[in-house]
């Protein structure tokens, strides 16, 4: 084991001196997490604001303007419908309202002009519909009261949402969608920049032969390289959590919007994430070593790695939208590599850790890691793979 420790120390020393590794494995995940949280938070804030957007009212309906303002929307006036439509075409207005005179039965028809292709216009319409609905309800209640009919008749069925808390306090929906994906992604891509150098780089520079003619067993060489790569993959993945902490410390409206559902990474969630990450990182590190061993040089290795990275991303992407399905609770999902880990991390962040699912995922990932490391060792021991140039 002394030889393995010597190789791990040397590889880690080399890796941490490599600017590419430092940037790709550690700076990048932190930077991306902070950036994405701010970006999504900004979008969320903007979307919420759009429902309270300014609406343009064609002159002549002061009463209607006051009603809309009373429901939290800003009102400006335009002289004619045509002028309002021009403002929409010039993207200066999201919504223009024209109120027709009341009909004989007292109904006011409110024409709302908007560009259906523009999301902000749609969101402003939703805000207006809520305002109109609230006003209609108020009017109905007043009528019912005048006719001495109970107010409840206006709402035959009243929907009362009640939140049910399961497990610990969890993170907000967007954090839950984003973080597992990033954690899994960087467990692989964090190690990519150095993986190409580990074996194929040594072949290319002819340093591998000097290593092969030492008395160290080839299996120990692979093990040393595998362990050092695992450390980098793990730390890269864990950097996402550091990014989360940093993002939560920023005093911006975006941060407030994103973390209003809670930070999510409770001590229990952190332990669960670490337990899930260990076999996943071992699986990824073995794949990376096997590819690096097989490739003739770092350029060839990078080509293979880019393809495999794409395959790894697929299930990770699915983990972002798994909340829209009920697959997350199915047993079989724990047998889909990568997705199983992302799904269990998601559950942990929601404070809903299912220990049976976590155990199955850990065992299954460990089995895959063992198979992958066996393949990597077999490749490393094949002389036609090792000494081909």
């Amino acid at each position: 084991m002394n030889n393995v420790a010597t190789i791990v120390r040397k590889e880690l020393r080399e890796m941490f001196r490599d600017k590419r590794v430092r940037f790709n494995a550690f700076v990048m995940p932190i930077f991306l997490i902070v950036l994405m949280i701010q970006m999504f938070g900004f979008i969320m804030t903007a979307a919420t604001g759009a429902t309270k957007a300014t609406v343009y009212l064609v002159s002549g309906s002061t009463q209607l303007g006051k009603m809309i303002e009373a429901n939290g929307l800003n009102v400006k006036t335009v002289p004619t419908i045509e002028a309002g439509i021009k403002l929409i075409q010039e993207e200066k207005a999201k919504l223009v309202l024209f109120s027709q005179p009341p009909t004989t039965d007292g109904q006011i028809k409110l024409e709302a002009y908007f560009d259906p292709k523009q999301q902000m216009g749609n969101l402003a319409l939703v805000g207006l519909q809520q305002a109109v609905s609230a006003e209609n309800k108020k009017a109905l209640v007043q009528t019912l009261q005048e006719k001495l009919i109970p107010e409840a008749a206006a709402e035959h069925i009243k929907l009362v949402p009640k939140e049910v808390k399961i497990g610990e306090k969890g993170a907000g929906q967007l954090i839950v969608a984003l973080l597992p994906y990033m954690i899994v992604l960087f467990a692989f891509s964090g190690g990519m920049s150095m993986a190409a150098d580990l074996v194929s780089g040594e072949k290319d520079k002819n340093t591998l032969e000097t290593l092969l003619i030492t008395p160290v067993l080839r299996n120990d060489i692979v093990l040393g390289k595998f362990l050092s790569l695992s450390v980098v993959c793990f730390l890269s993945s864990a950097s996402c959590l550091v990014g989360m902490v940093l993002a939560s410390m920023l005093k911006t409206p975006a941060t407030k919007e994103m973390f209003n559902g809670g930070f999510g990474v409770t001590p229990m969630a952190a332990v669960t994430i670490i337990l899930l990450l260990i076999p996943l990182v071992a699986f990824f590190a073995s794949i990376l070593i096997a590819i690096s061993s097989y490739a003739k040089n770092p350029r060839e290795a990078q080509t293979y790695l880019a393809i495999v990275n794409f395959i790894v991303i697929m299930p990770a992407i699915f983990s972002q939208v798994i909340g829209l399905t009920d697959f997350g609770n199915k047993l079989w999902i724990n047998f889909i590599p990568v997705l199983n880990t992302a799904n269990n991390i998601r559950a942990a962040l929601l404070g809903k850790t299912d220990w049976t699912a976590v155990t199955i995922t850990i065992v299954f990932s460990a089995v895959l890691a063992a198979i992958a490391i066996k393949v990597a060792v077999a490749l490393f021991n094949r002389e036609e793979v090792l000494v081909r140039v």
Binding site: N2, N3, T6, I7, K10, R13, E14, R17, D18, K205, N206, T207, E209, T210, L211, L212, I213, T214, P215, V216, L217, E383, E384, L386, V387
Partner: protein
């Protein structure tokens, strides 16, 4: 001592079929002498050295290095050899000292023995002034000195040199050749592959001319010149290689 008997290495190339890189060679290199493997590019020199250093396994035949069999005792063979080639790089992001310490530990030297050997090689090869500089920042000559230090750090009995001066300037080549002579004087067994005749004439006590994976002549440099009936080793080498080809052609034409 290095001894081979009927050593063969055959590869299967998907495009060209079976390739006999080395096809049954017998050589013997002894302590305190430099054994040269002289051949053109692709003759099989590197493949022989790779088999002897246990990087690849022979298809057939046997070989012993420092008394150990290359197939059944590869660990013992590796513990007793040093290998150097001009194309062997160092780890660019490690300092010279770190590279030497790394290999010293991999060769199983105890910390006290490592410190003692480090002191010796650093002084011997005048590495001290750049010992703590990253290898990427070293000149070619400095890198070569570190490579030599790495090769002898564990004080191996047998040294393999695979075209060690190829691509080096005259001054650096001189350092390498002096080092090889010194290794011989220290009683090491030296096996040296090259295609440069002047190096062979200066260094080699014993010589084998290898062509297309087979040995076409063996002996001292002088005996090989005599065998070919030539004054210079270069002409002798060309004659031997052509002789083989001509020999086959003349047999076929009969």
């Amino acid at each position: 001592m290095v001894r081979t008997s009927g050593l063969k290495k055959h590869f299967t190339d998907p495009k060209t079929g079976l390739k006999k890189a080395v096809d049954g060679i017998d050589i013997e290199a002894n302590p305190g002498r430099i054994f040269g493997l002289l051949g053109a590019n692709g003759a099989g020199k590197t493949t022989v050295l790779r088999m002897l250093s246990t990087v690849i396994q022979p298809t057939a035949g046997t070989a012993t290095v420092a008394g150990f069999d290359i197939v059944s005792q590869p660990g013992d063979v590796r513990a007793n050899i040093g290998f150097m080639s001009s194309s062997t790089a160092l780890y660019g992001r490690l300092t010279s000292r770190e590279v030497l310490e790394y290999f010293g530990r991999l060769y199983g030297l105890s910390e006290s023995r490592l410190a003692e050997r480090m002191k010796y090689v650093v002084e011997k090869l005048q590495i001290e002034e750049f010992a703590d500089r990253l290898c990427d920042k070293l000149s070619t000559g400095q890198k070569q000195r570190v490579s030599i230090a790495r090769t002898i750090l564990h004080d191996p009995k047998v040294l393999f040199f695979d075209e060690p001066t190829s691509g080096l300037d005259v001054v650096t080549s001189q350092t390498v050749m002096e080092f090889i002579e010194e290794a011989r004087d220290l009683g090491k067994t030296v096996v040296f592959s090259t295609h440069i005749m002047s190096e062979v004439e200066r260094l080699c006590d014993d010589l084998a001319v290898i062509h297309d994976g087979v040995i076409v002549a063996k002996g001292t440099p002088q005996s090989i010149k005599d065998l070919a009936g030539e004054q210079s080793l270069e002409r002798a080498f060309l004659s031997l290689v052509k002789f083989q080809a001509g020999y086959v052609s003349s047999r076929e034409s009969r």
